[in-house]
């Protein structure tokens, strides 16, 4: 019984967090640019991409609590954004869900050989799974070390996810376009990336509309509140085919409107706004260099990663 509660704790709670607390509207909010004037909005997108790479690298070569601090610091940055508290809460729920789900999708499956490679010498068993749980690929026992290992991997993921969304939230599609143009990416590919970039929040918006329509027509009417997240999930899956068809049909309108503006008449485009590096970028580059130094110091003082290089 407890085993099943633990099992569902790791698999269902993240889903409930996503469905009940973030909701589909939350995904729209957290993948869409909104204008703002604070520090992060003023950075060159290239700086933000480099920050993402460095955060990923630092979180993956250091011990779990450095990843945790990085995640927390990046989450706090959300507070400085436009309408920051709301974005912070959404990002926090996403972190919570990713963290719980991430830890739980790794910890029970990690065999002792991997933990030994990770440098754990003693194992504290906290729970014995029923034997049929091995059918899910579970190890026979749950140990504290498995949880630490899972958390280590999960913090590596959360730090990167939180930083990446920061880039998405504070960068206009035009700036993304300029960034790839500056990196000499062919214009056709740059265009496709930019369109894809702006389509992601649209996907959630369309799914949200379709889900609401289904509920308006009485889907899941009169059922208990506990079941509501699952009705939302089913409705969201049913919403995918109409979303695909709607987007495919509207693709033509976008293509026509872009073509009427003379897109791809020439191999390059001239831009009114040039991407420049401001003093804010130099501050950020300073922080990035500090992060790298921190990672090197952490490794020297024995706070290197506890994931063995056997991969995920």
């Amino acid at each position: 019984m407890v085993s099943w509660i633990l099992f569902f704790y790791g698999s269902v709670i993240p889903v409930i967090i996503v469905l009940a607390l973030i909701g589909i509207k939350g995904f729209v909010e957290i993948t869409r640019y909104e204008s703002g004037t604070t520090f992060f909005y003023k950075l060159n997108p290239i700086t933000k991409v480099v920050l993402g790479i460095v955060v990923m690298a630092v979180a993956s070569v250091t011990t779990w609590w450095i990843g945790a601090i990085l995640t927390a610091a990046m989450l706090l940055v959300y507070l400085t954004l436009n309408d920051g508290f709301r974005k912070f809460m959404y990002a926090f729920y996403l972190f919570l869900s990713t963290f719980l789900g991430g830890t739980w999708s790794i910890a029970p499956y990690t065999p002792y050989s991997v933990l030994q490679l990770a440098g754990f010498k003693q194992f504290n068993v906290i729970w014995v799974w029923p034997s049929y749980f091995t059918a899910f690929g579970y190890e026979p026992y749950l140990t504290v070390q498995q949880l630490i290992y899972g958390a280590q991997v999960a913090f590596r993921i959360t730090a990167v996810v939180v930083t990446s969304l920061l880039l998405v939230l504070t960068t206009t599609a035009s700036d993304i376009f300029r960034m790839f143009t500056k990196l000499k990416v062919p214009i056709a590919i740059t265009f496709a990336i930019t369109v894809a970039f702006t389509t992601v929040p649209k996907v959630f918006d369309l799914i949200d509309t379709s889900v609401k329509m289904q509920f308006l027509r009485g889907f899941g009417y009169g059922k208990t509140a506990i079941l509501r997240p699952f009705y939302l999930l089913v409705a969201a899956i049913l919403a995918i085919p109409p979303t695909i068809i709607y987007l495919a049909r509207n693709a033509r309108n976008l293509a026509i409107s872009v073509d009427t503006r003379g897109f791809r008449a020439y191999n390059s485009r001239t831009s009114l706004v040039e991407l420049t590096y401001s003093k804010y970028d130099y501050i950020m580059w300073g922080i990035i260099v500090m992060l790298i130094v921190l990672a090197i110091l952490a490794n020297i003082f024995g706070f290197g990663r506890t994931i063995p290089y056997t991969g995920l």
Binding site: I53, M56, A196, I244, A248, A255
Partner: protein
């Protein structure tokens, strides 16, 4: 120290020799340039094609990282099940089937990878993953497009009008049946192809190369066998859905 999370280990026990992997990717790249030269490179894609590809990639990202990743948690972790990957392949195949030009598969996977880096991965381990996915899954889709002469899953085929005495409805019905059979046959071929790269290239080379992981060939063989049924079913479904979407969009 490693470069961008890439360890660069080339002599882990059991690892596929890097020369073979390099040869595969050089051949694949040569094919890409040959096809590009022959068909006019990126210019042959109309703006509409690019929008289709972009929308497919965006839907793929929305599925793999936000919807599918939570659904996958509800199911036991097993090599037989890959909710995220299935959804991505399904969506991308539908949109590639709307474009039906050689290169559409690779371009879709390329855009998907760049977008997933922007939104989720933060360019970790790049450019290895983009090269790998583009030149395996993307290339397989494109090979099928090339082999079918741009009529993947039989989309875009015209009813056979040579025999004038057969009524129109019968011709259309025959065509529908032919398209369904083609969708099943091509789905099986693609499904089997899709099962190969992840175990062979990822477990056999990229994982040891990037992280120094040890290669267990039993796992590789088992994973290939475990991936095939799911992948085949999903690619067949993708074929049927692509036929329906193509009709709904008016092709």
């Amino acid at each position: 120290m490693s470069f961008n999370g890439i360890k660069g280990a080339v002599n882990v026990p059991g690892e596929i020799p890097w020369e073979i992997v390099l040869l595969y990717f050089i051949l694949a790249l040569a094919f890409v340039f040959y096809i590009g030269k022959k068909q006019g490179g990126l210019k042959k894609f109309t703006t509409l094609d690019l929008v289709y590809i972009a929308v497919g990639a965006a839907l793929g990202v929305a599925w793999e990282f936000y919807i599918g990743s939570y659904l996958g948690r509800l199911l036991p972790s097993s090599p037989f099940i890959g909710i995220g990957f299935w959804g991505r392949i399904l969506i991308i195949l539908i949109f590639v089937a709307l474009v039906r030009k050689v290169g559409a598969g690779m371009l879709s996977l390329l855009i998907f990878n760049v977008l997933s880096d922007l939104l989720h991965y933060g360019f970790g381990g790049e450019p290895m993953f983009t090269i790998y996915e583009t030149l395996t899954y993307g290339l397989f889709i494109d090979l099928l497009i090339a082999l079918t002469g741009g009529h993947i899953f039989g989309i875009g085929l015209k009813p056979n009008t040579a025999s004038a005495d057969v009524p129109e409805e019968v011709l259309v019905k025959n065509l529908r049946r032919r398209q369904n059979i083609l969708a099943i046959v091509e789905g099986i071929v693609l499904g089997i192809l899709f099962a190969l790269p992840d175990p062979i290239f990822y477990l056999g080379f990229f994982r040891p190369f990037l992280y120094g992981a040890i290669v267990n060939w039993q796992t590789v063989i088992f994973d290939i066998e475990a991936f095939i049924p799911g992948d085949v079913i999903i690619t067949i479904i993708a074929g049927f859905l692509a036929l329906r979407v193509a009709r709904a969009v008016g092709q």
